[in-house]
Point group: D4
Chain length 250, copies 8
C-alpha cells in the first residue's frame, strides 16, 4: 500500500464511499510490505552515501553483474567483495565505470553523490600477508566517507615498529587491526590507545592457525578492553563498522 493509495482510501471513507469496517478490514488484509517497507526501513535514509554491498563469494559472475546493475545508478557507490577477475569482467561488461581492486579482491562502481568525508579511521596490519583483508577494510571505509590512515607490518614480533607508530595511532578515532596467526596486535594496540579497536582476524598462517581460528580466539579473548571482533578475513565488516563509528557525533 503506497501512501497515495492509502490517501485515496481515506478520502473514500471521508466521502462516505467506504465504511469504517471495510477500511479496517482492508487495512488488516492489505499486503504488509507496502506500508511497512517505509516504516521499518527508516534507517535507510541515514545510510545515504553508504555503499550498496554485494558479497561476491558463492555467486556466479552473471548473478553478480545483474545484481550490481540493479543496484547502481541510485547515487551511492556499489561495492562487491570477495570477487575475482572473472566476476569483474562480467560487471565491467554492463558497468564500464567499474574498477577492480585486485589486492582487495573487490569491485567498485563509483557513486554520483558527493560523500561527506571525515578522517579518523586507521587500518593497521600485522604483516604483508594481511594486506588483502586490510585493503578490503580500507576501501569500504573510503566508500563510506572515512578514508583511512594506513599503518602496515607492525606485528608484535618487532614491537619497536609498532611503538614508532604510536603518535599516529593515538590520533585515530577508530582503529581497525588486521592480523593473523596469534593476532596479539589487537591486544597490544588496545592497551596503548583509548580509541575503540575493531579487530579482524585473518586466515594468514598455517598448521594450528586453523585458517584464522587462532587469530579469532586471540582477538575474542583480548586481555585489553575496547576490542570487538568481526569474522575471519571480514575486512568489509570492519571497515563498515569503523566508518559507522567514525561518523557518530558528526
Amino acid at each position: 500500500m503506497t501512501t497515495s493509495e492509502l490517501r485515496r482510501r481515506l478520502e473514500e471513507l471521508r466521502r462516505g464511499d467506504l465504511s469504517v469496517d471495510d477500511l479496517l478490514k482492508y487495512l488488516r488484509d492489505y499486503p504488509y510490505e507496502d506500508l511497512d517497507f517505509a516504516k521499518i526501513d527508516h534507517h535507510r535514509p541515514l545510510r545515504t552515501g553508504f555503499p550498496e554491498v554485494v558479497l561476491g563469494r558463492g555467486k556466479s559472475p552473471q548473478q553478480i553483474a545483474s545484481i550490481v546493475q540493479s543496484l547502481a545508478g541510485r547515487g551511492s557507490p556499489v561495492l562487491v567483495t570477495k570477487a575475482d577477475q572473472e566476476s569483474f569482467n562480467a560487471v565491467a561488461g554492463v558497468m564500464p565505470a567499474a574498477i577492480y581492486h585486485s589486492l582487495a579482491g573487490a569491485i567498485e562502481v563509483p557513486g554520483e553523490n558527493p560523500l561527506t568525508v571525515r578522517e579518523g579511521v586507521t587500518v593497521v596490519t600485522g604483516g604483508t600477508a594481511d594486506l588483502p583483508v586490510a585493503e578490503e577494510a580500507a576501501l569500504t571505509a573510503r566508500l563510506m566517507g572515512s578514508p583511512p590512515e594506513r599503518i602496515n607490518d607492525v606485528g608484535v614480533a618487532g614491537l619497536h615498529r609498532l611503538l614508532a607508530s604510536m603518535d599516529r595511532l593515538r590520533e585515530a578515532r577508530v582503529i581497525v587491526v588486521v592480523a593473523g596467526m596469534e593476532a596479539a596486535l589487537a591486544s597490544v594496540v588496545a592497551g596503548l590507545v583509548s580509541a575503540p579497536v575493531v579487530a579482524v582476524p585473518t586466515s594468514v598462517g598455517y598448521g594450528a592457525s586453523y585458517e584464522g581460528l587462532s587469530a579469532l580466539l586471540g582477538m575474542l579473548n583480548s586481555c585489553a578492553p575496547g576490542v570487538a571482533t568481526v569474522n575471519i578475513d571480514n575486512g568489509f565488516g570492519a571497515g563498515y563498522l569503523a566508518a559507522q563509528i567514525n561518523k557518530m557525533g558528526k
Copy 2:
C-alpha cells in the same frame, strides 16, 4: 624517571654539573619504565572517569580484595566482574562502600570523581536467561558515564516484541545485543538500525549451543553489516566498548 627528576638532570647539564656524555649514558641506562611509563600511557588521562576493572574469575577472594584495595581511592570507581558472594565479602571487609550486584555477579566500589554522563547506549536481551550478562554490560556502561536504556526479552521467536521497541532502538547511538542460542537477534537488530551493534553471545542454551559457540558463530557471521562481537558472556567488554564509542564526538 619522573619529569621532575629529568628536569633536574637537564638543569645540572645546563649548569655544567653534568657532562653530555654522562647524561646520555644516564638516559640510556635509566630504568626504562620510568620514562616510558609516561610516554606510553598517554591515553590514561583520556580514560579519566573510566573504572578500574578486575576480572574476578580465577582469583581468590583474598587476591581480589587486595587488588581492589590497591586500585580504590584514586577517584575512579572499581569494578570486579565474574565475582561471587564470597569475593564480595572479602572486598567489603576492606572496602565497606563496596556494592554487590548479584545478578551481574559484579562488585562495584563507587568512585569519588563526578562522571560526565551521556545517554545513547541501549542494551537489548533476547531472553530472561541473558539478563546476568546484560546486567554486567549495563553496569559497566553506567560506571563509564553511559547509563544505558534497557530492552529485555525481545528474542526473534516473537518478532512483534522487537518491532514494538523499534522507536527506542532507533534512538540509540550504540546498541549492545545480548543473546544466546542462535543469537539471531544481533542480525535482525543490525538490519533495522543504523547504529553500530556490539554483540555479546551468551552461554545460554544447551546441547549444540556448545556453551555459547552457536551464538558466537551466529554473531560473527551476521548477514547484516555493522556488528562486532565480543567474547561469550563478556558483558563487561561490550559495555566498555559501547561507552567508549558513545563518548566519541563529545
Copy 3:
C-alpha cells in the same frame, strides 16, 4: 493502536473531525507495535490449545515462577522444560495446580481449554537412559493434543526388538526417535517406515560421544531420507514439531 482506537480515528475522519493528512501522519507515527502486534501475530490463534512454554535452564526459580504466573490462566497449559525440583517448588507456591514430571524434568500447569486430541505420534527410544528426553517429548506432544504411543529400548544392537515393533511403527503418522551414542536408530527406523522421523540426539554416552555430538552428527547424516533433527536433548522441540505435523490435514 488497538482496533477500537483505530476505529475511533477512522470515525473522526469520516465525521470530518480529522483531516486525511493528520490521519496519515498519525498512522505513520503511531507506535509501531500496536498495529503490528495484531498483524504479525496472526498465527497465535492457530496455536490455540498449544502450551505456553518456558525453558527453565538458566532462569532462577523465582524468575520461572513469576513467568509461569503471568502465562497461566489464559486457557492454555503452561510447560516449563529443563526445570529442577527447586523451580517446581517455587512454581507450586504460586500455582498449586502445577505438576512436576520428575523424569522429564518438566513442570506442567494444566490449561482449562479442552484439547482436540489426535493420535498418530509415536516416540521411540534406543535405551533406558534416553527416557528423560523422551518423556519431555511425550509430555509436550500430549499438551499439544497428540498423546503419543511409546516404544522403548529398541536400540539397533538388538535389531529383533525393533523389528518386533514394526507394526506399531508403521501405523504412526510421525515418529520421534530419541537416541544417544551412535543414534543409528533414526536411520534404521526411517528406512523402515514412510512417516517423517523427527530425530532427537541425546547426550547419553561417554567419551567420544561428546555429550551427544556423535548422535547429532549421526542423525544429520542419516543415509535414509525423511529424517530431520533437533538440538541435543531437545525433547520439547521434537514433541512440538511432531504434534505440529500430526495436526496437519485435520
Copy 4:
C-alpha cells in the same frame, strides 16, 4: 521366497508331499530377504510416485550411469543429486530423456507414472548464494508431487523483504528455509508462522561460518519451536521431508 512359492510349498504340505519338519527347515533356511523383503518393505508401496534417489558425490560417472539405468523404467522418476556435468553426460548416454538441472547440480530422469500433486510446500532462501541448495530442495519436492512456492533473498538483514512475503508464508503447509551464515532466517520464519519449518543450513559464507557450521548450530538452537534441521547443503533431504509432511492427511 515369493508368496507364490510359499503357497506352493504350503499346498505340498497340505497334500502330504512335504513333511512339517521339512517345511520348518525350509522356512528357516530359505534366503531371508525373499520373505522379509515383502514384510519389511511394506512402506515401498506408500512411496509410489516418490523418486528413486542417488547421491552422486563420491561415485564415478560410470557408476552413476549404471545405477540410474538399473533404477529407471519402473514408473518413478530417478533423481541424482550432487552430480556434475560429466556425470550427466554419462547418464544421458544411456538415458536420453535425462535432464540436467545445472544450478541444483541434479539429474532428473522423468518417470512415466502420473504424480498426484499437492501444493503447500514453500522454499525460502536467505540470499542468492543459497539458490543451488534451494533448487535441489524444490526439484525434489516437485518430483514427489509437491511443486513448491519460492520466496528468494529474504535474509533478515532486510527484514522488510521477509515481512512483505508474510501472506505467502502463512499459506504454506510446510516451509523449507535455506540459509547460510548465521541462518537467523529459520528462527524468524518459525516465529512468524504456525507451519513446521524444515531448515537447511548452507555452506555459504567464509571464515567462521566454517562451511555451514554456524548455520547448522544456529538452526539447531532456534529459539522458536517448530524447526527441524537437515544436513548442511542437504536440499534433497529437506525437499523430501517437506513433501512427505505435505502429503500427510491426504
Copy 5:
C-alpha cells in the same frame, strides 16, 4: 511365533484344519518378532557364557537394579559398567550375590554356568591413572572366559619397563592397551608384537588431552598396523572384543 506354535499351525494345515490362505495371512500378520526373534538372534547361543551387560551411566540406581534383576538368573553373569556405589547398593538390595569392583566402577552378579576358560588376553596400562579402565577391561574379559594377564605402568616415557615385559607381551594372543595422554604405548606395543592390539584411549591427562581426545587420535593414527580402537574409557568394549577374538579358533 515360537517354533512349536508354527509347527502346530503347519500341522493344522496338513490336517486340513487350516486353509493355505489363512496360514499365509497368519504368517504375514503374526507379530513379527516371534518368528524373527529366532532367526535374527541366531548368534545368541554362540554367546552362551557371555555376560549380560548394562551401561550404568545415565540410569538411576532403581532402573539399574530392576534391569539387573530381570537379567540375572539365566545362567550367565550380569555386568554393570560405569556404576557408582549407590547403584551397587540398589542392586545388592535385590541381588545379594552382587559384587562391587570399586576401582573398575563395575557391579558383577556371578552366573551359575561354568565358563570355559582360555588364556591369551593381556591388558597393558601406561600408568596408574589408567587402572580403572584397565580393571573394567580385565573384569569383562574374565567374565567372558578369558582371564587376562596384567602388565601395568609401562608407559613409553620409561621404555625399559616396557621392553622388560616383552616376553610376556609376545605370548599374548590379543593385547588390550589402555593409555591416556598421547597414548604412544599402543603404537610401540603394536610395533613389537604380532598379536592384534585393541587400544583403549583414556581420559587421563589435562589441558590439551581434551578428556582423551589426544589419546584417541593417537591410537587411530598409529603408525604401526594391527591396532583397532574403542571409545575413550571403554574398558568394557576392549575386554569384550579381546575375549571374542581370543575365543576364535577354539
Copy 6:
C-alpha cells in the same frame, strides 16, 4: 651383529683369542640394533608372508619407487596404499611386475612365497562410494592370505538388503564394515553376529559428515559390543587387522 659374527667372536673367546673384558666391551659398544634387531624383531618371522606396506600419501613417486625397490625381492609381496597413477608409473619403471589397483588406489608387487590361505574375512560396505576403501581392505587381506568375501551396498536405509545377507555374515570369522555418513551399519552388523567387527569409517558424505567424523564417532559409540574402529578411510588397517585375527588359532 649377525648371529654368525657373534658366533665368531664367541669362538675367539673360547680359543683365547679374545679376553672376556674385550668381549664385554665389544658387546656393550657394538651398534645396538645388530643384536637387538634379532631380539626385538622376534615377531617378524611370524609375519612371513605378510606384505611389506608403504603409505604412498606424502611421498613423491620417486621416493615410493625407490622404497618399493628396496623392499621387493624378499619373497613377500609389497603393497603401496593411497598411491596415484603417477606413483604407479614410477614403481612400474623399476618393478615391471607391479600391478595398479585403481579403485583401491594401491600398488601391488606380487611376492614369490606361496601364501597360506584361510577364508573367514568378510568385507561389507554401506554404499557404492565406500568401495575404494573396501577394495583397499580386501586387497590387504588377500595379500595376507585371507581373501575376503564381499557384501556390498547393504546400508541400513534398506535394512532388507542387509538381512538378506545374514547367512553369509554369520559364517564370517571376522567382519570388516566399511561405511560413511552415520555409519550405522557397524552397530547393526555387530548386533546381528557374534564375530568381531572391524569398523572403517569413510569420508563419504558431505556437510556435517565432516570428512568422516560422523562415521568415526558413530562407530566409536556403537551401542553393540564387539566393534573396534580404525582411522577414517583406513582400509589397509582394517584388512590387516582382520587377516591378523583370522589367522589366529591356526
Copy 7:
C-alpha cells in the same frame, strides 16, 4: 642379565664349561630387560639431582602416598603435581617431611642430595590468575637447581609494565611465559629478547578461551621465532624444560 652374570657365562665359555651354541641360545632367551635396562637407561645418571615427579591428577590419595613412599629416600626430591590437600594429607602421613605448596597444588618431599644451583631461568606471568601454573613451573625449576626469577602481572594490556621489566628479561637465559586468554605475552616477550621462550598456555579466561585453547593456539602461532609450547596449565613441563636448557653448557 647383569654384567657380572654375563661375565660369569663368558668365563664359563672360555673355560670350556659352556658351548658356543648354549651361550648363543642363552643370550637370545635371557630376559631382555636385564641387559637393556642398563643400556637404555644411560640417561638416568645424567638426571641425578632431578626430582622424581608424579602427576597427582587421576590418582587416589592412597596411590599417590604409596608411589611417593617408594620414590623417596633415594637422594632426589620427589614432586607431586596437580595434587590437592587430601592427597597431601595422605603423603604427609607416610612422609612427614613433605611440604604442600597450596597455590601450585604441589607436594614436595625434599631430597638429601645437595643441588648444584644455576640462575638464569625467569618465569613471567600475564596476570594474577596465572600464578598457580607459574608456581608449579617455578617450584619444578627450583627442585632441578634453577631457582627462577619471577616477573608477575605484565600482560600486554599494559605494555609499560612489561617494558619496565625488560632489563631483567634480557638477563634471563631461558624465559617461561605463563599466560591465558589470548596469551599475546609470549609473542611480545620473544620479540624483545634473544633467549628461548618456553610458553605455557593457561586455562585462565572464560567463554571462547575454551579452557586454554585460545592461549595454546596463540602461542603455537607466535609470529616471533624462539617460542616452544607445552600443554595447557603444564607449569611442571615448562619448569622442567627451562631447567634442562639452563643447565646446558654447564
Copy 8:
C-alpha cells in the same frame, strides 16, 4: 632521534641555546621510535649471524622478492620458508646468489658474515613423508650456525631402528623430533635422552590425523618431560629454537 641528534640537542641546552622546558617538550614529542628503537632492540646484536627470515606463504612472488632484496646485503643470510618455485624465480631475478631448497620449499640467500658453528643439534624424523619439514628445520639450524645431525625414518612402529640410533641421540645437545600421525616418537625419544626435545608435529597422515592435529596433541601431551612443541609443519621454528638453545653456554 639518533644518538648524534640527541647529543646535539643536549649540547645546545648546555650552551644555553635551548631551554630545559623546550628540551623536555622535545623529548616528549619526538617520534618515539627513534629513541626506543635502540633501547628495545638491544637483542638484535645478540642475533648477529642469525638469518633474516620471511614466511613465504600468503605473499606474492613479487612481495617476497622485494622483501628479500631489502633484507639482503647486511651480512646475514636471508631465509624464505614455505616458498614455491615461482617465488624462487622472482627472488633469483633480483638476487642471483639465491638457492632453492626444493624439498624444504625454502629459499636461501647466503650471507657474507662468517658463521660461528657449533654442533649439537640432531634432527630426527619418523618417516619419509616428514622430510620436507625436517629439511626446513635442518636448513634453519645450519643458517644459524648449528648444522644438525640427521636421523631419518625411525618411527616407533619399528622400535629397533630408533634404538639402533641411540648412541647418536645421546650425544645430541638438543633434539628436534619431526613426526606426523600419532607422533609417539617425541615421547619415546624424550624418555631415552636427557637433552631437551623440540617437537614438530607434521600434517603427514590422513583421516583422523586432521592435518597434524593428532600429532600436535600427542606431542603436547607427551608423558615424558622435556618436550616442547612448535606449530604443525613449523620446521623453521624448531630449527630456530634448537639453534638458539644449542648456542647457549657458548
